[in-house]
């Protein structure tokens, strides 16, 4: 009862409006030119743009048009809704012009000032992004079912380590078995940790898709505030996630919004978590069904892990270190033709633009994967959904197996706890 009246009071006063505005100023700069000043038109971005291989899309030209004062024309034409936000251009830009950031802000502008509504660009008729928006309502609290939690794992409502599930239980609506990612991730964490893991029923979406895909910053800020409150109430210090998008959002975007977010919480991807436990000698890798012939597998780098993180973050090297180690237990890791920072996109990000062009990109990616091995491991639930969707359409990919990092490792991890267990028994 109190919660609802409190919010009503706040909404009446002017404070909350300023509150949103102050957050907005941290993630939105209306002057698009400021971002692009350094561009000297080398044209690299148009060359490396993944979308430009399947349709006409030239970032350098768009940048030049904005700099020369034709910003309105770019915005009116709506061409920026096409961008798949893979960040390949920033990766190769000699001047570090952040084109994806420009597109993100331009989307906000197009929506709010030009009143554009990109309904036809949103995949799945916008059901999942609508869900995120509904979750941002302050009076609504999700009540997730926890039927995917494996029996042997103990979960709790407050504690130190939290598993941030993300939207996986909602994706089950159209994608069967997608919550096995959550199950195997929780299994992995439970094996390593002694204490019960925090999994919250009232967890909200991180807001990634609204932030990057649709330029809806206000609901994003609401979601971020809601999540922050939830984390604080549960008394968490470490957040582990298995989703590349949640990782990037919690790690980078939330710290931009809230100054002390990264001091209060340590955000870890499951790859980092496994890597650290391995280096601390908490776990080892064992294969119960080792065959004489090594199993060939490859890794698809999600853009959110390879290109959307600060350069000091070497998560893609950590994952390779683990994979190369697996050679001892009968798994052979092969690189795809394009890998690490240069990896190809799965074709869709933030539920935008699922069409024949993005399908062509996906086809390219899966063909490369097929050449490298029968198992494809990746670490982003969306990449899995998109690649599996294509796999089901083409017979030639029928023999391939697309797995999440956690699903791949769940049966290969063995916990070393010899001494400690004996002490407990005594």
């Amino acid at each position: 009862m109190i919660i609802i009246t409190e919010i009503e009071k706040k909404k009446d006063s002017k404070d909350i409006v300023n509150d949103i505005d102050s957050y907005l100023s941290k993630i939105y700069d209306p002057n698009l030119r400021n971002l692009l000043r350094k561009c000297y038109q080398c044209g690299t971005c148009s060359g490396v743009c993944q979308l430009s291989k399947v349709q006409k899309f030239t970032p350098s030209r768009i940048i030049e048009m904005i700099l020369e004062g034709f910003e309105n024309r770019v915005i009116e034409s709506g061409v920026l809704w096409d961008c798949i936000m893979c960040n390949s251009c920033l990766q190769n830009c000699p001047e570090d012009v952040n084109f994806a950031d420009l597109v993100r802000m331009a989307k906000y502008k197009m929506r709010n000032i030009e009143d554009q509504n990109p309904e036809e660009y949103i995949a799945h008729k916008g059901i999942y992004t609508t869900l995120s928006e509904i979750m941002s309502e302050s009076n609504l609290q999700p009540e997730r079912t926890l039927d995917w939690v494996p029996k042997e794992c103990k979960i709790t409502e407050s504690g130190k380590i939290m598993y941030y599930v993300g939207c996986l239980p909602f994706f089950k609506f159209e994608f069967e078995n997608i919550d096995s990612i959550a199950t195997s991730t929780l299994k992995l964490i439970c094996q390593i940790e002694k204490e019960p893991i925090v999994v919250l029923k009232e967890e909200s979406c991180c807001g990634h898709d609204l932030y990057w895909g649709q330029g809806k910053f206000e609901p994003f800020i609401e979601l971020a505030k809601k999540n922050l409150k939830m984390f604080e109430n549960a008394g968490i210090s470490t957040i582990i996630t298995a989703c590349a998008e949640c990782y990037r959002t919690l790690k980078v975007d939330y710290s931009n919004l809230f100054e002390d977010f990264d001091k209060k919480f340590e955000v870890q991807h499951i790859i980092e978590y496994i890597y650290n436990s391995w280096k601390e000698n908490k776990i080892e890798f064992k294969n119960p069904e080792q065959t004489s012939e090594p199993i060939q597998f490859t890794f698809h780098d999600p853009c959110r892990l390879s290109r959307f993180l600060p350069k000091s973050n070497n998560i893609i090297h950590k994952v390779r270190e683990i994979f190369n180690h697996l050679e001892k237990i009968g798994y052979k890791f092969n690189e795809m033709e394009h890998s690490k920072e240069n990896s190809l996109c799965c074709g869709v990000s933030s539920w935008m633009n699922c069409n024949e062009r993005s399908k062509a990109l996906r086809y390219k990616r899966l063909s490369e994967a097929k050449a490298a091995g029968t198992k494809v491991v990746t670490s982003c639930p969306k990449c899995i959904m998109h690649l599996s969707c294509l796999k089901d359409d083409f017979e030639e990919f029928g023999s391939m197996e697309i797995l999440d990092f956690s699903e791949f490792l769940v049966n290969l991890v063995n916990v070393i706890d010899g001494n400690e267990k004996k002490e407990e028994e005594k």
Partner: protein, 144 residues
């Protein structure tokens, strides 16, 4: 605490309800209710669709997001569908929508409803709408 658990504060609240009616049965049923002068609350906004199978779950979620307090989808009785099996798809989709999305989102499941009304059931249409409107009035507004 989920949304709308307090009652008694909703006096004088007039809900906005979106009703998707299929062209062949329920829309004709609504027509019959009008011609026969059966009274029902004026809170519904009817949207005619060719078949209840046309109603994508995202339409329902978008209606709720954009200010509807309740959404009702009506179609032909099972076996009577003009397109043979359209309403069977609707039924299946609705069960999934309820069990996976509506429930987990913390929205009261009473706000989204599926009913079968045939073209001859003008009286039933009026009854269904009256009942649904009263339910939503009890629940109160979806957004506060």
């Amino acid at each position: 605490m989920t949304e709308a658990k307090k009652e008694g504060k909703n006096e004088g609240f007039e809900p906005n309800i979106v009703a998707f009616c299929c062209n062949w049965c329920s829309y004709a049923g609504a027509d019959l209710a009008g011609v026969s002068r059966f009274q029902y609350p004026p809170n519904i906004r009817v949207i005619r669709v060719m078949c209840s199978g046309r109603v994508d779950p995202s339409f329902i979620m978008k209606a709720l997001k954009n200010g509807a307090d309740g959404v009702i989808v009506t179609g032909c009785h099972i076996g009577d569908c003009h397109y043979i099996s359209g309403n069977e798809y609707t039924k299946e989709r609705f069960e999934r929508l309820h069990s996976i999305i509506i429930k987990q989102l913390g929205v009261n499941p009473k706000r989204v409803r599926l009913e079968w009304v045939s073209a001859s059931e003008g009286k039933r249409f009026a009854e269904v709408i009256t009942e649904f409107t009263n339910d939503i009035k009890k629940l109160g507004p979806f957004k506060r």
